[in-house]
């Protein structure tokens, strides 16, 4: 792994269209700014890993449930009736 030393406000370029800026250093917390093309998704690694693992688990469980010859059918209705909301900045 390439390791570089940077100060606050210093930046790193990955290729020519991804730019990473060190915004602030405070103890063991680093604030990082990232500029990247919009088709490049950016994730916190541990959250990405969790969601990826859950996607695979969902596929596997659905496959094994339907392979047993059972249609995937759940007993409804569910007790919860509350609505979800979406917020857009």
């Amino acid at each position: 792994m390439l390791t570089l030393s940077r100060k606050t406000d210093d930046a790193i370029l990955i290729g020519t269209d991804i730019r990473i800026v060190i915004k602030r250093i405070d103890g063991d917390i680093v604030k990082i700014g990232i500029e990247a093309p919009k088709h490049v998704p950016i994730y916190r690694e541990e959250v990405f890993s969790k969601v990826s693992a859950q996607n695979r688990e969902a596929l596997k469980k659905a496959e094994s449930a339907t392979m047993e010859g059972r249609e995937l059918e759940l007993k409804w209705p569910l007790p919860s009736k509350a609505q979800a909301k979406i917020e857009i900045p």
């Binding site: 998704p41 996607n55 059972r70 569910l78 919860s80």
Partner: protein, 156 residues
């Protein structure tokens, strides 16, 4: 920040049979190869729908719209995701799907992933599995249904 309620109905989805596929340009997280999907739903199987990839290797995700099923679910999109999805205001009313994990059918134990919902622009049919900006409030395994387990008879 705009807030809106999702309609608690499940007929609003773009159904299979329409010619245009749903495009997830970066794929599902961890599974980037499949980028074109169809959404299969039927009255009989409500509210489960299947988000199934087109192409040689089919991936079929069971999904539900969380609106009527999950209490107090507030989705905050990052600026980057809102821009990617071309969702500018609450009027854009995107389709929200959450992936089901069927832990077991008997007893029934089913969870939904509230951290990484799939948001689809109904106009462009371009979508993305996002990580919510407020992901820390939610679980990837939010319990949707849990039946008490059947206790096995004591062994002699």
């Amino acid at each position: 920040m705009a807030t809106m309620s999702l309609e608690p109905e499940i007929h609003s989805a773009p159904h299979s049979g329409e010619n245009r596929p749903i495009r997830l340009p970066v794929g599902m997280m961890g599974l980037p190869e499949a980028t074109e999907f169809e959404l299969l739903s039927s009255e009989a199987r409500q509210p489960i729908m299947w988000l199934r990839s087109l192409g040689p290797k089919r991936l079929s995700f069971p999904v539900v719209e969380p609106g009527p099923l999950v209490g107090d679910y507030v989705l905050e999109l990052s600026d980057a995701d809102a821009e990617f999805l071309e969702i500018k205001s609450a009027d854009d009313n995107p389709l929200v799907l959450t992936v089901l994990t069927v832990k077991s059918l008997n007893p029934q134990r089913v969870t939904v992933n509230l951290v990484g919902p799939i948001i689809i622009n109904r106009r462009t049919l371009i979508g993305k599995q996002v990580v919510l900006a407020n992901y820390e409030r939610y679980s990837v395994e939010h319990v949707l249904i849990e039946e008490p387990g059947k206790t096995s008879p004591p062994q002699c």
